[in-house]
């Protein structure tokens, strides 16, 4: 080597690595440290309290209720989103008129993809302001407006979407599904198109129909993508911070009505910024972090199959 390699490597890496460690890695590590203290956040004074924050956490009924809500989201969000996305991807790619060349996608599939994907590029902040208007609890809200128009709802007593303890979590789930389906549709669609044509031709020659081809050929080949989607959606289900904190009623970071719209992240932020219990908030962060890690590991392990090379 005419030019020395190591000064070059060090020169290229030093700035990004320092930035990354200072602003990303170190704060994550600090979260662990602070979770063992009674730090208030205002002063630098803190005492080591061992695992007290963690034991308190599991007796905190608000936290347990929030955890329950996250588990609810964890069950429904991935299942509904993946099924809808697969259904639409199937429609787009296999729903077209058939010919001797095999099954084709519907006409205008590119257009559908552009429309369905659009919510994904919007800021979640725009989504929440948008859905505040959609879920408004009188005739001027879009959903109530539609229900009244269809005579499904009495105009004098519209649905109190976000103020109803039984509906609030489902409203949040609805927003996330509305925004997310397009992304997974594009993901599955891309995976479907990367399956070589000759596999379909072989299935066709063997006399397989559309549905059979989908369930016996396409779906097994898509398994990798479904698995990734599952992990992503599980992580998203543990979050829901912005949706819950803005859409649900409550003085700071939402959570209402009466903790029925609470998720772990909103409770964490309220403890940190409003109650001044930073150590406690960090303990919550660590618990969420481990739950997320365990979930991803389980999702990857349970759904593991032999990879099919093509």
């Amino acid at each position: 080597m005419r030019y020395r390699k190591y000064p070059f490597i060090a020169g290229f890496l030093v700035i990004p690595v320092v930035l990354y460690v200072v602003f990303v890695i170190w704060p994550y590590l600090q979260t662990f440290g602070y979770s063992l203290t009674d730090w208030s956040g205002q002063s630098q004074e803190m005492h080591f309290v061992g695992l007290e924050n963690y034991t308190k956490l599991f007796g905190d009924h608000v936290f347990l209720q929030a955890l329950q809500h996250n588990v609810l989201l964890l069950v429904f969000l991935p299942v509904i989103t993946i099924l809808l996305a697969l259904f639409f991807a199937f429609m787009l790619n296999v729903g077209g008129r058939g010919g001797t060349t095999g099954v084709r996608g519907v006409r205008g599939s590119a257009f559908y993809k552009v429309v369905f994907f659009f919510p994904q590029v919007l800021s979640v902040a725009i989504l929440v302001v948008l859905f505040q208007a959609v879920y408004r609890s009188d005739g001027s809200g879009l959903l109530n407006g539609i229900l009244i128009k269809l005579h499904l709802q009495d105009p004098s007593a519209p649905v109190e979407w976000l103020n109803s303890p039984n509906l609030v979590m489902w409203c949040l789930l609805g927003v996330q599904i509305w925004a997310g389906v397009g992304f997974y549709l594009v993901l599955f669609s891309a995976a479907m198109q990367s399956v070589p044509k000759d596999i379909y031709e072989a299935a066709l020659l063997d006399g397989a129909g559309r549905l059979q081809t989908f369930f016996k050929v396409t779906l097994p080949l898509l398994w990798d993508s479904v698995q990734t989607a599952w992990v992503y959606l599980a992580i998203a289900a543990m979050d829901f911070f912005v949706l819950a904190s803005v859409l649900t009623p409550g003085s700071s970071f939402g959570g209402g009505p009466d903790y029925h719209g609470e998720v772990m992240a909103t409770y964490l932020m309220r403890n940190f910024l409003t109650f001044g219990k930073s150590g406690y908030a960090c303990a919550m962060g660590v618990v969420i972090l481990f739950l997320t890690l365990i979930l991803s590991a389980i999702a990857l392990r349970v759904s593991r199959r032999d990879r099919i090379e093509y």
């Binding site: 990354y20 519907v106 994907f117 590029v121 725009i126 995976a191 912005v242 803005v246 997320t292």
Partner: protein, 311 residues
Amino acid sequence: MATPIKQPTPVPVFKGQPTTIGSRKTDRERFADGGTTLNVFSHGFLILWGVMILLPLAWIVLGSFKNNTEIGASAWSWPSHWSFDAFSRAWEKGIGEFFVNTVIVLVFSVPLTMLLGSMTAYVLARYEFPGNRIIFYLFVGGAMFPVYLALVPLFFMVSNLGMLNTYQGLILVYIAYSLPFTVFFMHSFFRTLPTAVHEAAMIDGCSHSRAFFQVMLPMAKPGLISVGIFNVLGQWNQYILPMTLMQQQSSSDPDRSMLAQGLVNLAQQQGYSGDYPALFAGMTIAMLPVLVVYLSFQRQVQAGLTAGTLK
């Protein structure tokens, strides 16, 4: 077919004569069957979902032309006269400033993210050195966790550096949090580039850094475009980071809110004092640049946003 044929002869097709082998239908018949029904069926569902996506968005845009009583009366009211009043009101009430603030931050943060990210990715992808794998997994692993888990210490980190509510602070934080995906994406991209060009440049006496800037970086342009759009959208839409780091420190401190954050604040604090048309107009203003970027680059956007999940 053993005879030497210069031009490919078409395989003889018996037109109009379906081959009747037993009772099995021809391919054409088999797929023409359920084809039409399924086609109508799929178009029905696809259009339904499309309407569900577009209706709320169109309703918001329409709302910015209504007035307050029309919005309050019914979801189905139609604007009585079309004017852009609400847009100018929204712009003056802060949306304009937030828009400019966001542009200022992004002008610095996106190019710097791209530069630092591709430098890191290049070195990690193309050079063997001890610690290479560790640094790579450090970057990739950081992308897995939700941002709010690091918020508490991050807030104090930025506070200790005296950079709360400053552009430079937010720029640095944006870069740091955009690095994992940028490095991950560009890493796989640099791996796919041929090594021969790089070797030729080295033999011609090119230095390592010159080979990167003048040979490898131009070759990586398609990847840079995808990941660049991803970063523009991601940083433009960022909400949690500015919400935590860009709060006014004192009453004399200027409001340097980012667009998404400012919009939510206005909606929450009733900063519009019930001026819903202006709020809707503000959302339309915030959506427009994203829509323009998305529609002009939709292929790259879809590729860039889903690439992280594909192997």
